[in-house]
């Protein structure tokens, strides 16, 4: 039995016809990128520009290296737990990206109680009604997308992206992201891109081949990622029927 909302890594879903830049340009951009890589830091930096179908920059998209693309095993996570706060009945940040094995704390900054839960396959948990700091941060070992909700406040929606590697980056408001990772041989060919809006259940992760991505010469040869935002415009209006009156409309036609 296939559960549709499990984590999916889908390869190469960019529609080539929608790419504005030719493959020839792409090669040149890659070459240029590698040429610009700093010899001092044994690391590689890639620039990305995430755009939606209609050329609107996509913020909070997480771009990460797949585990099979890294040169060395990832270091064990030893840092302080990441924070997924709840402020004014909203998760903050809305999208939290962590590396697999990271700890995430769920403090409650509101003066009401929350009941944070996730039914996502990557991490199923339930933090029953609590206020303030829960007992302990939660460990997110399995890479994937964890959709967070609050059983009390249905409008609360948050995401924790558990990346396979510690090398990930989130696009800013202008859709730009910079991915830095240790130099590796051979150089990584694919990247993972995720945004909640990529699918209805937000579980879809794109695996893109860098060689197929167009680059933008004007913007430090950044790879342009065009995202087909399926979940765009999906809004939840809790407690109220948003689709009533259909029959009435027909009557009036």
């Amino acid at each position: 039995m296939v559960i549709p909302n499990e984590r999916r890594v889908i390869r190469g879903r960019i529609d080539p016809t929608r790419a504005a830049i030719s493959p020839g340009c792409l090669c040149r951009a890659l070459a240029l990128t590698f040429a610009l890589a700093s010899p001092m830091v044994a690391a590689q930096t890639l620039h990305f520009l995430a755009l939606s179908d209609n050329d609107v920059p996509v913020a909070d998209a997480v771009i990460s290296l797949p585990a099979d693309q890294r040169s060395s095993p990832a270091p064990a996570y030893d840092g302080a737990p990441a924070i997924m706060d709840q402020v004014k009945k909203q998760f903050r940040p809305r999208i939290l990206a962590v590396a697999a094995g990271a700890q995430v704390a769920f403090p409650n900054s509101d003066n009401v109680r929350h009941h944070v839960y996730s039914f996502s396959p990557a991490k199923v948990f339930e933090l029953k009604l609590y206020s303030g700091q829960p007992e302990a941060p939660l460990l997110f070992q399995q890479p994937g997308v964890v959709v967070l909700g609050c059983n009390i406040h249905d409008s609360m929606l948050g995401y924790i992206y558990v990346a396979e590697t510690p090398y990930f980056s989130q696009t800013d408001a202008s859709g730009k992201a910079t991915l830095t990772f240790p130099d590796a041989k051979p150089a990584p060919q694919d990247i993972l891109v995720w945004s909640p809006e990529l699918s209805i259940d937000s579980q879809t992760i794109l695996r893109l081949s860098l060689s197929e991505l167009p680059t933008s010469a004007a913007d430090r040869d950044a790879y342009i990622i065009r995202l087909n935002m399926q979940g765009n415009g999906v809004e939840r209006t809790q407690g109220k029927s948003g689709f009533g009156g259909k029959f009435r409309k027909q009557q009036h036609e």
Partner: protein
């Protein structure tokens, strides 16, 4: 058929018919529109209500479903991805909200679990568009045909908190629900859809109605007529519930029209009933009305015929009548009384004397007849007249005369104690009926009457004493019939007058004589008119004593009646005088005599013929004119004829007679006084008379030989005549001796049997010739 009653009936009945039909027609039209409009309104109202019901149901179901899908336990169970768990959750939750169907779909629309046995293990939900709509609008509602059933389906995404699948919650649209909706909307409801090519229906209509109802047009005929013509029993509105997919689902709202129009049928029947009642009422009403009109009219006809028969009183009053009829009846009453009054006047005038107010002749005859019929008691019919009434009129004027007549009438009425039957028959002739009671003597009664009338009459400040002549006929002695009694009284009165006595009773036979005289008069009138030889003239010669010549003769009329033979002249002449026939008789005589004289002249005989006149002839101017013109025609001198008038006629009104006789003399005619000596003439009058000759009556001449006194009378008369310068002629000379005496007395002419009897004209000439031969020696004789 043409009677008033039928016409009223026809009018009212046809009015009711027209009114009823018009109302029915107008009602038919308007009720058709009204009903049609009302059904339309009801229908669209019902459709609206239906829509709102489904909508509110949808909202209600959605809310219920949302509560379900928001349930954490539900979400948790779905998230377990354990088929058994999910199945049990669906069953549990569907029961919780009484859903008929509950499905769980993944985001691709693949069936994950169902409260019903799934047709295939992995089935795609047919309505992907609904799922998309559910995602974008956080839910979707639609009518969906599923597994051969129709559902109102609510599809909600299951958020965890991102959508992880869809819960589809279906509520079956079955006949139970349709019936509920029907009870609310009051229209029949059918849900129609196709499922795998087969038509499916859920309906409140019965199976046999269904097919026709579903085919019925949406429009409602706006007139009943077209409804009937089209035989449309339903009207249906189709409302698509879902246009999605291959299964078009429709809600069909159906109104059975016969129900709606059934009210019209009831109303129509009522109107027809009311019309029929009105019809009957109008018949009854118009019959009453016509009865009220025609019955009085019939009575009026009866009254009119009563009036025409002369019954003016006690007319049957009309009980049931309108004011017009009453007015008409009053007019009839008035007409009746007016006619009665006028008729009374006319009758009065026809039966009464206008002057005195007494009965007239006709009426009194009827009254006497009435009296005869009434009783057998004896009574008198008294006929009376005023003596010398003409003098009163002449002296005091006609007004006094009239007043006098009135007073006499009044006096007569007073004389008769009760129920006086008095009449005025002619100018001054009255008649009354007086009863004879017991042993009363008729003569005594009449004397009493005369005494009663003898008192002077007071007329216009005049006191007039009148004298009366009374003729009496007695019942039953004199006659038994009214007319006879009256005639006999009248005869008695005539006798009284002619005999100059105040009272005269009828004597037996007088009436017969009277009647004979009347007959004779009639015959005489005929004889004059016919001139057939019954009347003829005889001539008696007169001899001039001194010369012995025959130069005059007297013309005497003779009547030889065809049945009665010779009628004495004094009888029929008097009759003619009385009957006013004398003028024509005299005219006949003068005409005949003058012709005869002319004839003699032709024969060489010169004779002056004397024609007897009566007093009435003197009055006639035209007599002399006629004589003169005839003489002129025959070229005769005036001395060819002369005229004789009896002394009595002259002297009865001497002055008047003198004036009239003057005219004869003026025209050159000679007049003789006939029958002189017996007529009471005064010498003074005689002196004034314009006569040229007197004829001594034969009563003196015939006994002349024997009577010395007659000799003296004759002699003195002759001398008197001569002294007045009148010729004297003696008639009735029958002997030689008498002639000799007369000759010696100096008489001028003689006439008599000694000379000759009167003879017809044709004998006179031979007589004259024979006499001339017998007396040739007579020196004085001249033929």
């Amino acid at each position: 058929m043409n009677s008033l009653r039928n016409q009223i009936l026809l009018l009212s009945v046809s009015l009711v018919c027209v009114a009823s039909l018009t109302i029915l027609g107008a009602y038919w039209i308007s009720i058709g529109h009204y009903t049609s409009d009302r059904i339309n309104q009801d229908f669209s109202g019902a459709a609206k209500v239906f829509g709102q019901l489904l909508e509110s149901r949808e909202v209600q179901l959605t809310t219920t479903a949302e509560v379900l899908t928001s349930d954490f336990g539900f979400k948790q169970a779905v998230a377990t991805r354990d088929t058994q768990t999910i199945q049990s959750v669906l069953n549990n939750h569907s029961e919780r909200i009484s859903a008929d169907l509950m499905l769980l779909l993944d985001l691709s629309g693949t069936l994950q679990a169902s409260t019903q046995d799934s047709p295939s293990p992995i089935a795609k939900f047919a309505h992907q568009d609904l799922l998309r709509q559910a995602l974008t609008h956080s839910g979707a509602a639609a009518f969906v045909a599923y597994q051969g059933e129709l559902y109102q389906m609510i599809i909600l995404p299951v958020y965890a908190p991102a959508p992880i699948g869809f819960a589809a919650i279906g509520f079956r649209l079955d006949s139970e629900l349709a019936e509920e909706l029907r009870q609310i909307t009051n229209v029949h409801i059918s849900f129609v859809w196709r499922d795998q090519g087969a038509a499916k229906v859920v309906s409140t209509l019965s199976r046999d109605q269904l097919e026709e109802a579903l085919r019925a047009p949406e429009t409602i005929p706006d007139t009943l007529l077209s409804l009937i013509q089209q035989k449309q029993t339903f009207s249906s509105k189709r409302r698509p519930l879902s246009g999605m997919g291959d299964s078009a689902i429709e809600a069909v709202l159906t109104v059975p029209l016969h129900n709606a129009f059934a009210e019209f049928s009831i109303l129509r029947d009522r109107i027809l009933l009311i019309s029929a009642l009105t019809f009957l009422l109008s018949i009854a009403g118009s019959m009453v009305l016509s009865h009220n009109l025609t019955k009085p009219l019939g009575r009026m006809v009866k009254i009119a015929s009563d009036l025409s028969r002369g019954q003016y009183r006690n007319l049957t009053p009309i009980s049931i009548a309108t004011s017009e009829i009453k007015t008409l009846f009053q007019a009839f009453i008035k007409m009746g009384s007016d006619i009665e009054e006028r008729e009374y006047k006319i009758t009065y005038q026809a039966t009464h004397d206008g002057l005195t107010g007494l009965f007239n002749r006709n009426k009194v005859i009827a009254e006497v007849e009435d009296a005869l019929r009434r009783h057998n008691a004896p009574f008198l019919i008294i006929s009376l007249n005023i003596n010398g009434f003409k003098n009163i009129n002449d002296t005091f004027g006609p007004k006094v005369g009239d007043d006098c007549l009135r007073a006499v009438g009044q006096r007569l009425v007073e004389f008769i104690p009760k129920n006086p039957i008095c009449a005025r028959l002619g100018a001054d002739e009255f008649l009354c009926l007086v009863d004879v009671f017991g042993n009363e003597n008729a003569r005594t009664i009449c004397d009493k009457l005369l005494a009663h009338l003898a008192r002077p009459f007071k007329v216009d400040d005049l006191r007039l004493a009148l004298s009366f002549s009374i003729g009496v006929a007695q019942y039953p002695e004199h006659a038994a019939a009214a007319e006879e009694l009256l005639r006999r009284a009248s005869i008695a009165l005539d006798k009284a007058r002619s005999e100059r006595c105040a009272l005269r009773f009828y004597e037996s036979g007088e009436d017969e004589a009277h009647l004979r005289r009347l007959q004779l008069l009639q015959d005489l009138k005929l004889a004059i008119a016919e001139d057939d030889g019954q009347l003829c003239m005889y001539y008696q010669p007169k001899m001039h004593l001194a010369s012995g010549r025959i130069d005059k003769c007297e013309a005497l009329i003779r009547w030889s009646h065809p049945e009665q033979g010779f009628i004495p002249p004094d009888i029929f002449v008097e009759l003619a005088e009385q009957a006013g026939l004398i003028a024509s008789l005299t005219d006949w005589v003068t005409r005949t005599v003058i012709n005869q004289v002319a004839e003699w002249r032709d024969q060489g005989i010169d004779l002056q013929a004397a024609i007897n006149l009566s007093a009435q002839d003197l009055e006639r101017d035209e007599l002399l004119d006629n004589v003169l013109s005839q003489l002129e025609t025959l070229k005769l001198p005036t001395r060819a004829v002369s005229f004789e008038l009896t002394e009595r006629d002259m002297m009865s009104d001497a002055d008047h007679a003198i004036a009239l006789m003057q005219r004869f003399r003026q025209r050159g005619f000679t007049l003789s006084v006939d029958d002189y000596g017996i007529g009471y003439s005064s010498l003074s009058k005689l002196k004034q008379m314009p006569v040229s000759e007197i004829k001594i009556d034969k009563s003196f001449v015939i006994p002349l030989e024997q009577s010395a006194s007659d000799k003296i009378i004759v002699r003195s008369t002759i001398e008197l005549g001569h002294s007045f310068n009148l010729k004297v002629i003696a008639e009735g000379v029958e002997t030689q001796r008498s002639m000799d005496l007369l000759a010696e007395m100096g008489c001028d002419y003689i006439q008599g049997y000694f000379l000759s009897k009167p003879m017809p004209a044709k004998e006179l000439a031979p007589w004259l010739r024979q006499r001339a031969q017998q007396l040739p020696t007579q020196a004085f004789g001249k033929v």
